[in-house]
Amino acid sequence: MYGEFDLTIPKTLQEAVKSLTAGGKRAVPLAGGTNVLVDVRSQRLAPERIVDLGRIGGLRGITVDGGRVTLGPRTTVSDLLASEEIAATAPALVESARVFAGQMVRNTATVAGNIACGSPAADLVPPLLALDAEVTLTGTTGSRTLALCDFYTGYKSDQRAPGELITAIGWPVPAKGSFGSFYKLARRKGDAITVVGVAVGLGLKGGRCVGVRIALGSVAPTPMRARKAEGLLEGEAPVPERIARAALAAAQECSPIDDVRATGEYRRKMVEVLVARLVNNAVQTG
């Protein structure tokens, strides 16, 4: 591989944060390596230091406690697929994990790495946004927790200060009977970059939609919540014209671009189709 960098393999989180902070902007944390090493090889990324997080204990695992799901940052995509707790509490996340890259990538790629890579096509992010996930960041001065929907500040940029690491991802267990699903539109089911990703979460109470969450991938500089669409459904009866209005609103509030995989116009149309489909599925299931 290309690139000249020094590699540190710390045994504790404190050492990792210290090493990353000392390295400043040219130091890069390494989790699964399925983005970072690809970028180093293609010279899109030229770090002076790579800090491998693979020998730090206690960063991988899934716990459900007190109505809250918490993931260690190095929990892999395959770990999500193997977990009964995730299957029970976050079906949309399972749907996105199933079609995430290929098996070898799923075995090493981590949840925190997928969030931190900042790609608008990061497939785990729309389901996590729909779950109201929060991320905990840890740096030299301690930890802070913020909503995932406030994490991104622009294309491939986020709230992390130099040296800060994502050290936990958590969300409240959805209410019983609530619905969650994710659909990935791509050229093939596995090992493909998403053209449009849609995650929907909602519950039904007395014939009205509650807790409506609609999150979109690959149609804006960052994964995003379709808040206008959510607002049009929240507290409303899910009648066909209401669903159609919300789906159109989602298509209007995203900002897709043309690229090698699809035109922006096509992506916008598919947002409308998929949001309507997923909401309809939810209503029929509930």
Partner: protein
Amino acid sequence: MSTEKTINLRVNGREETATIPPHRTLLEALRGLGHVDVKCGCEKGDCGACAVLVDGEAVDSCLTLAQSAEGREITTLQGLGTPEAPHPLQQSFAELGAAQCGYCTPGMIIASESLLRKNPAPSDEELRIALSGNLCRCTGYVKIFEAVQAAAAVMRQTGETK
């Protein structure tokens, strides 16, 4: 910066030593040590030709730094079986003609082994998803899927998987 380091790699049950810089991938290190059953394809995690087991799980060795793999248990295709005593997957790939040029075969078998350790009786859909990160440019995938299912049946009978 970028200092070489002498590391021990445990490959197919044997300790080997390599002196390598930080940017050397596990793929490059293994091939440098003569493990040319690990194939170099895309070098960016798309094709799966370089798959090896690390502590029992299939990973792309092109996306693993060799120094990071020190002390881990690494298994390549040749660590699964020999021509005299082939692994059921190796046997069925040969018998059912699941290889044409053969370049993708080591990665296909490693990925299949990793799947079958977790899921001894995969559905065809589960198998397709498990092998979606392994590209074959010769045969198509039908014979490969047939060979994996045949080996899975043998392994369930002989108790090689739980």
